[in-house]
Amino acid sequence: MGRVYIVDEDVEEYLSKLCSQQAGPVTGLLIGQSSGQRDFVVIAAPTPKDEESAGKTVDKEWVSEHARQVSRMLLGGLTVLGVFMITDADAKDTITTLRQLVFAVENLISSEQKWSPAEDDVTDCVTLHVNPKTRKTVCRTFDIKDPKSAAKPADLKYQSGVGSCWTTVSCWLNVDLLIPLPDSRASKENSQKGLQVWTRQIENAVCLIDGKKLPEDSELTSGQVVYDELHRPLMQCRILLLSAVRQEEQRSADVVQPCGGSVTVRGAVHCRAFLHTHKPKVKLAEKLLKRDAISTVATRVQMLLDEPLASEEQIKDEFCLPRRIFCPLKSSGSLYVCDYQFSDEGLSEIVDRLKEMLGCSFPACGIYLPSFNRTTPHSLPLTDSYCHMCVNVFCSFVFFLPSGLGAFMAAAAALLATAASMMYYSDM
């Protein structure tokens, strides 16, 4: 009995559309959530066209890079489940190509993830081959943990409303980190260690739902529910940090160490995770929410840590982390994707970027930011007044690495005039 992939009807429709376009082979990513023996696919994101290699063979690196950036746009609970390819080439050749693709994609994504894998994680990934002429689909899964894994058969089922009725858990996480920088530029690993301590703390933290610590196997049925601007319910969680893990023997020599500087990160981040059932298990909810927290902080911080300062003489620098913007999926009643906005970007750029990366459309009155209460701590900036605080280190910023994709940025800038209306999450 292989895995069963339950695909949303909108996704099916989209794949059909791609088939009828007949623009040569199309590759893309399947996005959704895995659980037990079943997986739920809610997005099919085609790989953006690469002008340089248009029409040539499938570029593994290009697809992997696309996947890496897409996975940053996914909130807790949604992951890249596999790849699809629409081509009339021979099934046997395609399966080989797909196999290479899916391993490349998954290896790149898992090398980036900062949270530790759990024992009950599903390690199967799907490859879907659709023949545009016959509309025949071939669906296989591979075990990513095993490089020699053989293709296993899998079933595809279409259903409407796969993306509706998901449970959402969320929280505002207060981050207050002080991380030493490595003494020599050469050792990049040391800067990762500082975050690792925090990551482990979050993984071991106690999660309260409605103020109570619920047993792991119980179901999440009720809780403190608030509604967002689009009247979608969010279950609020609270995270209690277990005090730092005690090092049994801390030698006096270890207490003070030379370093090359330090980094502080302070502020609140919004974390969210989705679970596909009405009554998800508490253990799963906690795991996914924690993973989202770790990903969003680690992603933003790590990128900034690796970035050198603008000039050599500059000793101290302060800037805002890119803020997280949430965008609801049209096809789904309760799902969102997100993106990170830098100070010099407008919201319409975000929308366009999401469209390019994910291939789906968003409702016109769609995106919003979870808002912060207006506070006046003198040293900390408010979300709206980013501009004067930010240093323009990020112009060359790495959010879209391959130069080819830079074209999108230019195109998006030209579309600035099309402003999407913004909705702010109202203060509670």
Partner: protein, 443 residues
């Protein structure tokens, strides 16, 4: 505070670690002091903040003491309510304990463990995340402070009172840790601080002292002397060595040996009889422990190990309990045995035990000879006196058997005597129930 009924005492113990982290621009002493003080100030503010949380282990009770938010309990509830909520009692390593013993030294108190946690989620007000980066060759201080506070309360005290006292104790402990760290700072080398609890004779009770971590006992003599003075304790026996630290009833011993298994027994009643017992803590050593098969020949070695454990745990010596080989080597070193004695399976007797105690631990002992077992009864007075004044375990050996006497029940008027024996011939596991039931404790 005078305690009327010792059995209604409850100890609330909160444990947790806080991270001490700061960036040091220079390693100049005064700069380090300033930065350290500032960092400790921040930590104290954390304890006083609304994010500070106490969770009661093994219960669903969660308390935000600075916000007056109590989950699953009300602030006015008496402490004993918390006891009722503890679902599973952690069994001591090696079996179940008998409940409610009447020990003189033992508090007979229940211990409720709490964990200190920090909440990291907030409903608001919030601020946008800001990153600040400083690139400069400098130093970084990173340590984990193991906070550990205990307060004794009456069962009728309210939870709110207890939480207030715990908060105060935590803040006080942070101050003491700061003091200890600054005191023991040498240049740019710093030591972390380590709190230890000590059970002093009533009415002083449970006291917590912060020591610098990793500094051996002999270097802390001045600090201990000051403590003896402060608590008006005699200087002829140790109270504040690390080995004297109070062992909470619900904690497991890391080495796996049972401590004072005789506490699980009831005393015999003799007409006009009184009980004279070993004072303090020893660990039970017997055949087959430590993967050493000494079945049939090692009884005196095991008895000697039990005695050594007493001296170590009362803080008189720092040496760990010697192994069979170490005991044999000691006898070779004093010239009592030939070199091939080491690694052999030969018995030893009282004389050898005395020699080893003297050579390895620097302890003098007295040997009392009795030509027959029945003569021992006439030594009742002497045995009773020994337990009263010295309180150490007694090794009794003769011929092919050795045992340890832990106490006597002796009647001065009738001369009747009963012995409390710890039998080293036991070959089973550290299961208290089996040991106290199967092995007859009194002859």
């Amino acid at each position: 505070m005078v305690v009327a009924e010792p059995t209604t005492l409850i100890i609330f113990r909160v444990k947790g670690s806080l991270e001490l982290r700061c960036h040091l621009d220079s390693t100049e002493t005064s700069h380090i002091q300033k930065v350290l003080s500032r960092t400790f100030e921040n930590l104290r503010a954390q304890i006083k903040s609304e994010s500070c949380v106490f969770t009661v282990c093994n219960t669903p009770v969660i308390i935000w003491p600075n916000k007056d938010v109590y989950e699953d309990i009300t602030p006015d509830s008496p402490c004993e309510d918390v006891l009722q909520r503890i679902q599973s009692d952690e069994p001591e390593s090696g079996g179940k304990r008998a409940t409610k013993k009447k020990g003189k030294k033992d508090l007979s108190a229940s211990v409720i463990s709490l964990r200190l946690m920090m909440e990291v989620t907030k409903p608001g007000p919030l601020s946008a995340p800001v990153i600040s980066k400083t690139v400069q060759k400098s130093h970084f201080l990173s340590a984990t402070l193991p906070l550990d506070c205990a307060v004794r309360t009456h069962s009728k005290d309210t939870i709110k009172d207890v939480c207030d006292r715990l908060l105060e104790a935590l803040t006080q402990q942070l101050c003491e840790m700061e003091k200890v760290m600054l005191q023991h700072m040498k240049g740019s080398t710093l030591l972390t601080a380590e709190p230890l609890h000590f059970l002093l004779p009533e009415p002083k009770g449970l006291v917590t002292v912060v020591f610098p971590a990793g500094v051996p006992d002999k270097e802390l003599e001045a600090q201990r002397r000051e403590l003896h003075q402060r608590f008006k304790l005699p200087n002829d026996r140790p109270y504040f060595r690390r080995a004297n630290a109070y062992h909470f009833p619900n904690e497991h011993y890391k080495d796996g040996y049972l401590r004072n298994p005789h506490h699980a027994l009831t005393h015999p009643t003799l007409e006009n009889g009184k009980v004279f017992m070993v004072q303090g803590i020893y660990s039970y050593h017997h055949y087959m422990q430590d993967r050493m098969d000494d079945n049939g020949w090692g009884c005196a070695y095991r008895s000697l190990q039990t005695i050594c454990s007493w001296f170590q745990q009362q803080g008189y010596v720092e040496q760990p309990v010697p192994s069979h080989k170490e005991i044999q080597q000691a006898l070779v070193d004093v010239g009592d045995k030939q070199a091939n004695f080491v690694g052999s399976r030969q018995w030893i007797g009282s004389i050898e035990v005395q020699a080893v105690l003297n050579h390895l631990l620097g302890i003098t002992s007295k040997i009392m000879f009795v030509s027959q077992g029945s003569e021992l009864a006439s030594k009742g007075r002497e045995l009773a006196n020994h337990f009263l004044t010295e309180g150490t375990p007694i090794m009794i050996g003769g011929g092919v058997l050795a045992h340890t006497i832990l106490g006597v029940a002796w009647s001065e008027s009738t001369g009747q005597i009963r012995y409390l024996i710890l039998d080293p011939h036991y070959t089973g596991s550290e299961d208290l129930q089996v040991i106290t039931e199967k092995v007859p404790a009194c002859t």
